[in-house]
Symmetry: C2
Subunit: 198 residues, 2 copies
């Protein structure tokens, strides 16, 4: 037996979401069918609304509600620093540290030849354009510390250094509160390599 | 930094879904922000549509598009058998076997004193009412083979047997294709207990 068409259609749409398989889709559909119509409608309208209200910032490609995003619109931010991240959620993670006060640039991915993603599929050209007027003195590359992220960081460093802009990379090392015993060799190796005088 | 309000609102609504935590909600929201508006709108309308088009069958409490559900509306089904399940997804699972041709009754849960769920929170009264006219000769209890499901099965058996209706329980045992070595003791015990002549 197939479910009635409207349920089938909902299941198909839910299964297209990232991380949602047939079992999760069934659970969500069942939940939606048992809650108040008002609850389901709030979800439906939040989905439609977000597409109408949100676009990407034309400067840094972060999520934006106004003409530019909240960070680019803030005159208090240090326009001499640009932190390069892969995704808007990485930007949000850095903002939560309250340690960085410059601007951002969201690449929307990382270089990954195996997935057919090169610099042209990312917002690299736009980043280089932002460095054109000489006001930026440092680019902090905060791509993920994995193969794709490191490749992207090296690529950007080679591209940007000749422009006379300082390129830095966020540190790799042991997570705070972590346990030396359980650290993998690569992380521990990086932590040793980047040791500092205390 | 908080996300812009429409994103924040979407994240809150997504996190209310079963099995969706903050990380999954962020991934889904990001996916929705990057796909075509038409794709996002299809999901939003599938959610609204399902609430308008689907209700619970007044006889068996399965999902229904018409007055009664597709199973109850089918004159080919054997009205002398009622299979009792916890949720509509269990009904769907049994239908996929093509082994059962009777009717169903969906309890919408199982007895669980720890969660405050007793027979009054389930569709038990409606099940007993369906047995009133003597046309049903067998009730197949297909609640889950866990504590709550077994409790519910025993409770229903005690309630229904005095009405002169046969009550049966689906078998527990080793899953087909499974490995004796990896079976837990309770399942293996049940499989031994329910052994049959070959």
């Amino acid at each position: 037996m197939r479910y009635p068409t409207p349920i089938q259609r909902l299941l198909e749409e839910l299964e297209r979401l990232p991380g949602i398989g047939p079992k999760s889709a069934q659970r969500i559909a069942y939940w939606l069918l048992t809650v108040d119509t008002a609850d389901a409608d709030r979800l439906a309208s939040a989905i439609s609304e977000v597409k109408r209200a949100i676009h990407f910032c034309p400067r840094c490609f972060n999520f934006a509600e106004g003409e530019v995003c909240a960070v680019c619109a803030d005159p208090e931010r240090d326009a001499a620093q640009i932190c390069v991240v892969e995704e808007p959620r990485d930007l949000a993670a850095i903002e939560r540290t309250h340690e960085y006060h410059g601007l951002y640039h969201v690449l929307h991915g990382a270089i990954s030849p195996i997935d057919g993603i090169g610099p042209d599929q990312l917002r690299v050209r736009e980043l280089i354009e932002r460095l054109g007027d000489g006001s930026v003195t440092e680019v902090v590359v905060a791509t993920n510390p994995n193969v794709e992220g490191e490749t992207t960081a090296l690529y950007l460093a080679r591209l940007i250094k000749p422009l006379g802009v300082r390129v830095t990379r966020i540190a790799s090392g042991l997570p705070v509160g972590g346990d030396l015993e359980f650290a993998d060799e690569v992380t521990l190796g990086r932590a040793l390599e980047a040791r500092r005088e205390i």
